[in-house]
Symmetry: C2
Subunit: 327 residues, 2 copies
Amino acid sequence: MNAVNQHVLATDLGGTNIRVALVDQLGNISYRNSTETLSDRGIGDVINRWTDALKHVMDSVDTKAVIGLGVAFASPIDHQTGVVYNPPHLSNWDGFSPKSILEQNLSMDVTIGNDASLAVFGEYLYGAGRGFKNMVLLTIGTGIGGGIVMNGEVYVGHRGFAGEIGHIVIDKNGPLCDCGVRGCLQSMCSGTAISRIANEMLTSEKCTILRDDGCDNQLPVTAQMVVKAARAGDGFATTILDKVARNLGIGIAGLIQIFDPEIIIIGGGISSEFDLLHSGILKSVDMNIYPHLRGVVPVVKAERGDDAGMLGAAALMFRDKGIEIGT
Amino acid sequence: MNAVNQHVLATDLGGTNIRVALVDQLGNISYRNSTETLSDRGIGDVINRWTDALKHVMDSVDTKAVIGLGVAFASPIDHQTGVVYNPPHLSNWDGFSPKSILEQNLSMDVTIGNDASLAVFGEYLYGAGRGFKNMVLLTIGTGIGGGIVMNGEVYVGHRGFAGEIGHIVIDKNGPLCDCGVRGCLQSMCSGTAISRIANEMLTSEKCTILRDDGCDNQLPVTAQMVVKAARAGDGFATTILDKVARNLGIGIAGLIQIFDPEIIIIGGGISSEFDLLHSGILKSVDMNIYPHLRGVVPVVKAERGDDAGMLGAAALMFRDKGIEIGT
């Protein structure tokens, strides 16, 4: 059962990209590909292109060695039924279950889970969480998601909705989020928030390369532009990122006090800019936490990037089939 | 092993009272007593009176049936070493471990844990959490503590510090808490907070029985006085409690999104006034949560009151000894 000749077809459906891969028990990825999600074309169209991308992988491998499909999905999701709820970037999928249609289209068993919950499983087994048993992953990109490992197990909650860390409130009078809540972490620390803060503050700020850079011609300023300006030493951009780091630290301090984890992992698009935020986060954590937890919990960058969700989804399928996962 | 003739000596050391009890495997309490903590008299004095209270129980029972001592302690605590950290109402105990001294004084095995973590275990086994496997308990009194049960197990975190729910921030510009953090749940929703808000708002409020009631002669107004006034129909007092319920709802919405629990349990001194807060909490939870979780998670009153911590401590000792716990 433990020979490394078994594979899981793994996929990650996000708001921007559909990723597919072939993963073995050791977390090695022998094939990967990606295509745009283009969700505005409708669910049917996405499902067809998704199925094609997955079939394309199967055409190129020994299908007998593929034991099933593991799906990471960017939404709160009922892990039993596979029904997705209020996907933030795939709004027309609300209430839909892609599980059975994928089972039919590909004639294989399918396990499905929330992308961040599966990403923390991937990081735990094959990334920054190796060797630890209690951790929280924040995936920070357009939005903010989260995944939890406690006592060596991914915790998904009673209905599979756990880990929605992006929607905890840190400033009840803060900005209104798409989720309908004021001052949640997502509304203050996501990529979308960085862009919003930059555009708001820019109206009263003259001295920044974001403006010099022809910003007036290319409004709105994006998070990427802010990061680029900060890397070029722009004080205004740095102030924005410091503010975001401070707010992230408030949320992370809360998570540390709730979970007493060994490690906090930062993934998602923002993790490639982690060096710009790290010291600001740590400073803010220490200011917003019980004294005995100051400086105790490392906050680190995720190691498996966009692969983490697929690695977790594959590991879930291996486990469901009773196949031991190597690390 | 399973005959109901074995008992645990159980105790709860809080900032105000030392409680002692004798608990059997079914959670029946056959003896209970309490005495004031009087922590200002120093650790040695408290330990002596605590030991006396425990010995007094032992003098009145068949000691062979007592398998050990279970201790619930009102502080973040290292469950392995028994060292307490920054106890909010027992400040001189910081860094001290009462475990070994109790073992010596009573010549029996001792297990020790955070009072709120043990209280949620007690409620899970013998109270409002029966039949559920995922729950969060908030103990709201002078301060705010918390306990977590996930997948049927109490979660205490890597060092045993988990569940410090009172110190998650919901208003980063809010009032400064004793813990050094601004706008944490404890600073806005504890009994201490109710008193503070009442005294602050009273300066600009004429029309309240808190003032008519000779309040000027008995400042500061206490949380108990606010509750009493609200029960008498006082609008000012009701406004204060509505505000507290609203803020509690923000914190609870965050916890529901993090844990996706089956139930949220409110314990501590405030739970006897739960009816005054319940509808306000539920309304606020629904306003601060993802749509698919609105109205889904019941928020209920704890059932075992001040006994919950001792019941949890006893159950922990039974489990440590491999003795099955009936419910």
